[in-house]
C-alpha cells in the first residue's frame, strides 16, 4: 500500500527535469536492485546475510560495471505484488527477480526487459500421497498460487483449455502461501519449474512427500527489467547480463581473466577486457566494465554452477547456444 502511494507521489512529482538513472546511481553510490524475498538459487540471503543467486549476480554485475565494485548493491526484496510498483516508482533501479518477460508487462506496464537469464516454464507440485501422475488429473483440485503472477493467469488458461475446474488459494507472501500448501490447505502448488525445484529442495519439511508433475504449461523467460525512458540505463543492464554470457562463450572465468587479459592475443578477448577499443565508454562506463563483471561475479556458467547446480538444476535450455541451449549474447564489439 505504501509503495502505491509512493508511486502516486512519484508520478505527481514536480520533477519534470529527470535525472538519468546512471547519474542517480552514481550519486547514491549503490545500485538499488529489486530481488525476491527469498528463493534459493535465485535470490536469497545466506546464513551470513549475504545475498546469493543467479538473479543477485545480475545486480552485482551491474554494480561491477558501474562502480568497478560488485558489492555496491542495495537489495530491496519485493513480493510478486510489490515488485512492479517498486520499479515504476523509482524505488529500485532494476528488478532482477525471476520475472517473466511478457508482452503486456513490456508494452503496458512501462518496462523494458533487458534479456533472459533463465529460460523456464510453469509446472505443478503435488502431494505424493494423492497419487497424481499428470496435470490432466487435477480436475477439482485446490491450488495455492501467488497473486500478480503470470502463473495465476496461465493456471486459469490451462484449466479452461482442458475443461477442468480448480479452486485457487491466493496469498501474497511466498512464505505464507507455502505454509498453506505444506499444511495441506492445497493439493497443488504451482509456479515456475525453477521455483518448484528450489522450494521443494529448500523449504519443504520433507521433500520426498511432494512430486513435480511432468507437464510444463507455459513459457517463462525470466530476466531483469528496467523502467521505460532511460535508454542508457537499459543498455547498461542489458550488456551487463550479456557480458556474463559472452564471457562463458569466450572461455573467460573469474579465475583466468587476469591472465587472459595479459596474455590473450584474441581480439574479441582484448575488446572484452577493455585492452582495445572503447566499448565501456560507449556505455558511459569505465573501459574495464566487462572485465570487472567477470573478475568479481564470474561468467554465466560459473554463476549457474555456484547457485543452481547444488539444488539439482541441469543446464538444459540454459546451456550456451553452441551446446544446444538458448543462451546467446549478441556480439560484444
Amino acid at each position: 500500500m505504501k509503495r502505491l502511494f509512493l508511486l502516486a507521489l512519484a508520478f505527481c512529482s514536480l520533477a519534470h527535469a529527470q535525472q538519468s538513472t546512471l547519474d542517480a546511481v552514481r550519486a547514491r553510490g549503490t545500485v538499488a536492485c529489486g530481488t525476491n524475498t527469498g528463493l534459493a538459487g535465485f535470490s536469497q540471503p545466506d546464513s551470513k546475510g549475504v545475498w546469493r543467486g543467479i538473479d543477485v549476480d545480475v545486480c552485482r554485475a551491474v554494480a561491477a560495471a558501474v562502480f568497478g565494485d560488485a558489492s555496491k548493491v542495495r537489495y530491496v526484496p519485493a513480493t510478486t505484488q510489490q515488485r512492479f510498483t517498486a520499479l515504476q516508482s523509482g524505488e529500485v533501479d532494476l528488478l532482477s527477480r525471476n520475472t517473466t518477460w511478457s508482452f503486456s508487462r513490456d508494452a503496458g506496464l512501462g518496462f523494458n526487459f533487458t534479456g533472459v537469464n533463465f529460460y523456464d516454464g510453469q509446472g505443478f507440485m503435488v502431494w505424493k500421497k494423492l497419487n497424481v501422475k499428470s496435470a490432466k488429473q487435477l480436475n477439482g483440485a485446490t491450488i495455492c498460487v501467488q497473486p500478480g503472477t503470470t502463473t495465476e493467469l496461465n493456471l486459469a488458461d490451462y484449466f479452461r483449455a482442458n475443461r477442468m475446474t480448480f479452486k485457487p488459494v491466493v496469498i501474497d507472501k511466498l512464505e505464507e502461501v507455502l505454509n498453506a500448501y505444506f499444511a495441506g490447505r492445497c493439493d497443488v502448488f504451482t509456479t515456475d519449474m525453477s521455483g518448484l525445484v528450489s522450494v521443494r529442495g529448500s523449504r519443504a519439511p520433507n521433500a520426498a512427500e511432494h512430486v513435480i508433475l511432468p507437464e510444463i504449461i507455459s513459457k517463462e523467460p525470466l530476466g531483469p527489467l528496467v523502467r521505460h525512458g532511460d535508454d542508457r540505463w537499459f543498455d547498461i543492464v542489458k550488456w551487463s547480463l550479456y557480458a556474463m554470457i559472452e564471457a562463458e562463450e569466450l572461455g573467460l572465468t573469474s579465475r583466468n581473466i587476469d591472465e587472459q587479459a595479459r596474455t590473450s592475443k584474441d581480439p574479441s578477448v582484448q575488446r572484452f577486457v577493455g585492452a582495445s577499443g572503447d566499448l565501456g565508454k560507449m556505455l558511459g562506463l569505465d573501459n574495464r566494465w566487462a572485465f570487472n563483471i567477470v573478475k568479481q561475479v564470474g561468467n554465466y556458467g560459473e554463476s549457474f554452477e555456484a547457485n543452481l547446480k547444488p539444488l539439482g538444476f541441469e543446464r538444459g535450455q540454459n546451456a550456451l547456444w553452441k551446446d544446444g541451449g538458448l543462451m546467446y549474447s549478441p556480439p560484444i564489439r
Binding site: L4, G148, E152, V170, I171, E176, G184
Partner: protein
C-alpha cells in the same frame, strides 16, 4: 467582501494545483508508456477467484465483475463480522460487570489479551490453526452426520444438497472456507474486545439513582437491565460503536494476508496484472469511502432514533 475574495483565490489556487497534479501524472504515465484510464475494467480478467459468494464468475469475465465479486466478499465478512462482534461484545461487556468473579476474571483476561496483540498476528494464528489442526478431506472429521471438518473448511448439508467426498474435496452442501472462517473469527474476536469496553463504560455511566429507583419498584435484575439500564446506556454506547464498525470494515482488508479474496485482494491482483496502480488505488479508496460514509449515515440515523425515543 474582501474575505470572499480571499476564499475564491484560495479555491482557485487549490483547483489549479489539483489540475496541475493530474495533468502532470497523465503526462508522466504517457511518457513512461504506462497505460492509464479505466478502460481495463471491461477487459477479460483471466484469473480465477477462490470464493465468489454465489456470484457467477470465471476467468473469462471482466475485471469489473472480478472486482464486484471481491466487493461481495468484503460485504459478506463485514456484515457477519459486525453482527458477531456486537453480540459477543455485549455479552463480554456484561460479563465484565458480572457478580460472579470467575466470569469477571475470564472476560477481563480475554479483553486484555486479544486487544493487546496485533490483529494480523491473530489472523495468521487462526488460519494456521484451521489448516494445521484439521485433517485432510479424505480423513475429515464428522461430528454430525453430513457435517465435515477438514483443512478445506467446514462442509454442511443444505436442504436438498448433501456434501460428498469427490476426488480431491467435498462437493455439494454449504461450505465455509478456512480463509473466511479465520478472517471472520479474527475480526469478531478482536473487535468484540473494544465493543465490550464500550458497553461496560456505557453501563457504568448510568446514574446509580436509576438502579436504586428500579430496585425500589421491586424490579428483578434482568428486567432492570433491559428496561432501565440498557436504554440509558445505549445512548452512550452507540456513537463510539460506529467507529468500531468502521474499523472492522477497514481491518477486513487484512484478508490478503491469509488468502481471502476481499475487494483489496482482487484490486491488488488487477493492479498487478494491468499495471494501473493509480486507478486501482482510486477504486479502493472510493469503495472504502462509500462504505464508511454509508455506515456513518446508518449509525447516525440509529442514534437519532434512539434519542428521539427519549
Amino acid at each position: 467582501m474582501k474575505k470572499i475574495g480571499f476564499q475564491a483565490a484560495a479555491i482557485a489556487l487549490a483547483l489549479g494545483f489539483a489540475w496541475y497534479l493530474v495533468a502532470n501524472t497523465v503526462d508522466n504515465l504517457a511518457a513512461r508508456n504506462i497505460a492509464s484510464g479505466f478502460g481495463f475494467l471491461g477487459r477479460e480478467a483471466g484469473f480465477e477467484i477462490g470464493e465468489t459468494g454465489g456470484l457467477a464468475y470465471g476467468a473469462a469475465d471482466t475485471y469489473l465483475r472480478a472486482l464486484a465479486v471481491g466487493l461481495g466478499n468484503t460485504f459478506r465478512v463485514a456484515v457477519l463480522g459486525i453482527v458477531g462482534a456486537t453480540v459477543l461484545g455485549f455479552l463480554v461487556g456484561l460479563g465484565r460487570l458480572s457478580e460472579n468473579p470467575l466470569v469477571r476474571g475470564a472476560t477481563a483476561a480475554y479483553v486484555e489479551f486479544l486487544r493487546n496483540t496485533p490483529l494480523l498476528v491473530q489472523l495468521f494464528f487462526w488460519y494456521a490453526l484451521i489448516t494445521e489442526a484439521f485433517p485432510s478431506p479424505r480423513e475429515a472429521l464428522s461430528p454430525l452426520p453430513g457435517v465435515f471438518l477438514s483443512n478445506r473448511g467446514i462442509f454442511f448439508p443444505l436442504p436438498g444438497s448433501w456434501p460428498v467426498l469427490e476426488g480431491f474435496n467435498f462437493s455439494g452442501g454449504g461450505h465455509l472456507s478456512p480463509e473466511f472462517a479465520a478472517l471472520l473469527a479474527g475480526l469478531v474476536l478482536y473487535t468484540a474486545t473494544y465493543i465490550a469496553e464500550i458497553v461496560r463504560a456505557g453501563i457504568l455511566s448510568v446514574p446509580k439513582g436509576q438502579l436504586e429507583a428500579a430496585r425500589a419498584l421491586g424490579l428483578e435484575r434482568r428486567p432492570t437491565l433491559r428496561h432501565v439500564v440498557l436504554p440509558h446506556a445505549l445512548r452512550v454506547i452507540v456513537p463510539p460503536l460506529s467507529s468500531q464498525y468502521l474499523n472492522l470494515v477497514k481491518n477486513s482488508s487484512l484478508a490478503v494476508a491469509i488468502g481471502y479474496p476481499d475487494f483489496v485482494s482482487v484490486a491488488n491482483t488487477a493492479i498487478n496484472q494491468t499495471g494501473q496502480a493509480i486507478e486501482g488505488v482510486a477504486l479502493i479508496m472510493a469503495v472504502y469511502l462509500t462504505i464508511s460514509l454509508a455506515l456513518s449515515a446508518l449509525m447516525n440515523w440509529c442514534n437519532a432514533r434512539l434519542l428521539a425515543r427519549g
